[in-house]
């Protein structure tokens, strides 16, 4: 099980002939992901790692059974690539590309909502259901099949935490990178709703960071909707100054809004354990799982 992606996921890679697209197609294939087609305009008819390449997503869909897309297309064309998949009826689209203009992201997310498509990213490492499907660029070896769901706004920090969890026996159901851009397709709340219904997931780790109010909304959701699974939170950026983007376009404190302090307080007020450092995550998880 797990959420969003699994054994039944059949992927088209948009931008498959580029350096990143081709490299990660191989890694995803190695992991066992069903990559059935690639798309690069003008490269139709060729192959990448034995995966047939088409000029358009529509053509790929006409010839293959596709239900997910992953986008490695360069920034100026990435949003349009997402629209192409959405319009073609693909229901799961992971946008790896970062720095997509806000206006374009808004367009993509608006049309995705209308068509009922789930957008992961932009600026995401993707999503992995260990042992079933990797739709992303994360190093596979840090993940193990298990019962902890992870939703994170950060790539490497997720790997850091996953390494620890795996080492101490906490395998993962699904790990979702929400994306580091200011506006992304999935919120913590969206993912919590999915984990709530997923029988494999028994506990959830939320990896937040400064900027926005997604963590506060998650805390409120957990508190008021009686989310029944154990949750541990980590928030990066306690030391970040106001008005500066900390690497991610979305990681910014504006005035008094979006601070780590506000997020940590919200989590604590909702009764959620907040890890002060990476190694605390597994400790809090262990405590909760023993309790639960």
């Amino acid at each position: 099980m797990g959420i969003i992606v699994g054994k039944e996921t059949r992927v088209v890679v948009q931008g498959i002939t580029g350096t990143q697209g081709s490299f990660h197609t191989r890694l995803m294939l190695d992991y066992g992901t069903s990559i059935v087609a690639g798309v690069t305009p003008g490269k139709g008819g060729t192959e990448v790692h034995n995966v047939p390449v088409y000029d358009t997503v529509k053509e790929a869909i006409l010839r293959h059974d596709v239900n997910a897309s992953i986008i490695f297309v360069p920034q100026p064309f990435a949003a349009e690539a997402a629209l192409e998949s959405i319009e073609a009826g693909i229901r799961t689209v992971a946008i790896i590309t970062e720095h997509i203009p806000l206006r374009d992201t808004i367009d993509v997310l608006t049309h995705a909502k209308r068509k009922g498509a789930t957008i992961i990213g932009p600026n995401t490492p993707g999503i992995i259901t260990p042992g079933e499907c990797k739709l992303g660029i994360m190093p596979s070896h840090v993940f193990r099949h298990g019962t902890v769901g992870i939703a994170s706004r950060s790539g490497t920090l997720t790997y850091e935490i996953a390494v620890e969890l795996t080492k101490y026996g906490f395998g993962q159901s699904t790990c979702v990178g929400l994306g580091g851009d200011p506006m992304v397709g999935l919120s913590f709340v969206d993912v919590l709703k999915m984990f709530s219904k997923d029988s494999q997931t028994r506990a959830v780790v939320l990896i937040g960071e400064i900027g926005g109010i997604a963590e506060e909304q998650a805390a409120e959701y957990i508190a008021t909707k009686e989310f029944s699974k154990h949750v541990v939170a980590f928030v990066a950026g306690r030391t970040a100054p106001s008005g500066k983007r900390m690497g991610h376009a979305g990681a910014i404190v504006i005035g008094r809004a979006g601070t780590a302090k506000s997020k940590i307080e919200a989590f604590k007020a909702a009764g959620i354990g907040v890890a002060a450092k990476v190694s605390d995550v597994r400790k809090l998880l262990a405590g909760g799982i023993q309790e639960g």
Binding site: L102, T110, R153, T158, I210, A240
Partner: protein, 380 residues
């Protein structure tokens, strides 16, 4: 990317949004001369890309040309929150009947642009938005419909206007939206937009932030992004940006680099947890090459205020051997002028460690251990 007030006003005037008559001066003499073309009283305003200049004395009023010259002299000698003032905007002072607020920005949760209007504008608007959000009229904008005349009129009406004044104000709102979309703004605000004593509206102050991710399609802005003194970036930050690195300067004494924004933030947090103080945030990104690592480390070494350096790499796409080679490249060129703590795990870890071990450089396993060590070393 932030624009200066004078730039913002010039752009808005191009969209037929009324702004005070004024001009830019870089010396007291020039200010006096420019003022002679204007009708007194004057406002003399420091042009800095930072909030709070009003409270710092960066805005002064003058009734005569001499007063304008003196005010300019004072302001040009000023530093506002550490930033030297190079230019002032000298303007005809607006005759205020009422100060209002109007802005357009994005709503991250609702995933759309949002227009915000308030009947009380001025310095405390953020405070108002934070403490009494219902005083802020908010319109979510459907990108397939846009912000139309009727949206604008509804907002102008809700903040208390009717008749011709309502129509005038709404027309300005509409123009601001047009500007916002055509220029990919992240934020634009007129704060205050003033209702003058003769029944017109003027954008007395304007703030524009362009969406950095969209700069590639706005060459008029992007060309100045990494030019000195024209942006809010420090010289170090400009250097880092030119090298394609995400870099933020901080106040402390431990230089920090890592791969991945979240990981670097967490590293900063860990340093602080052990009572250390980060000198900067430096993210080399995913899959950094030897030369990027080299460039990044060189920037950290060049920072005078740091007394130790912490490198935290968790290899995913990033390969530890590339990182190791980058570190050696820097050492061979400039030498290690301060103590460096390295944590290096992940992809090609063994090779990376071997390269560094051969060069006599010790490497740690744990991020927390490394942070603790760096704090110790920074104390000398």
């Amino acid at each position: 990317m932030k624009l200066f007030e004078h730039e913002a006003k010039t752009i808005l005037a191009g969209y037929a949004i009324p702004v005070p008559k004024g001009a830019l001066a870089t010396s007291p003499g020039q200010a006096k001369k420019l003022a002679s073309q204007l009708r007194p009283p004057f406002a003399v305003k420091a042009q800095v890309l930072i909030a709070g200049r009003g409270k710092a004395g960066g805005i002064q009023f003058a009734h005569t040309l001499d007063e304008a010259e003196n005010a300019t002299k004072k302001i040009l000698n000023m530093e506002i929150r550490g930033l030297k003032v190079h230019k002032v905007l000298i303007e005809e002072k607006v005759q205020v009947r009422k100060e209002l607020y109007f802005g357009i920005t994005t709503d991250r949760s609702r995933r759309c642009y949002v227009a915000l209007a308030s009947a009380s504008g001025g310095v405390d608007v953020e405070e108002i938005a934070y403490t009494t959000p219902r005083k802020m009229i908010k319109t979510l904008i459907d990108p397939t419909i846009g912000f139309r005349g009727y949206h604008a009129r509804e907002m102008a009406s809700k903040i208390g206007y009717s008749g011709k004044l309502m129509l005038k104000l709404a027309a300005i709102y509409e123009k601001l939206f047009k500007f916002a979309m055509e220029n990919d703004v992240e934020l634009v605000e007129m704060n205050p937009i003033v209702e003058t004593s003769d029944g017109t509206f003027v954008a007395a102050d304007a703030r524009i932030i362009i969406d950095d991710s969209a700069l590639y399609r706005h060459p008029q802005y992007s060309q100045r992004l990494i030019s000195d003194q024209k942006t809010e970036l420090t010289l170090q930050e400009i250097k880092a940006r030119k090298a394609g690195l995400a870099y933020v300067e901080l106040e402390g004494n431990i230089g920090i680099m890592g791969n991945g924004a979240g990981l670097v933030m967490a590293t900063l947090d860990a340093v602080q947890l052990y009572n250390g103080s980060p000198a900067n945030f430096l993210d080399v990104g995913g899959g950094a090459s030897e030369s990027q690592i080299d460039a990044a480390l060189a920037i950290l070494l060049a920072d005078d205020k740091s007394s130790a350096i912490l490198i935290n790499i968790l290899g995913g796409i990033t390969r530890c051997d590339e990182v190791a080679r980058g570190i050696l490249a820097t050492r061979n060129k400039v030498g290690f002028t301060k103590p460096i703590v390295i944590r290096l795990v992940g992809t090609n870890e063994d090779e990376g460690r071997r390269i560094l071990a051969e060069a006599g450089i010790h490497v740690l396993d744990s991020m927390e251990e490394a942070a603790k060590k760096a704090v110790e070393l920074s104390r000398g």
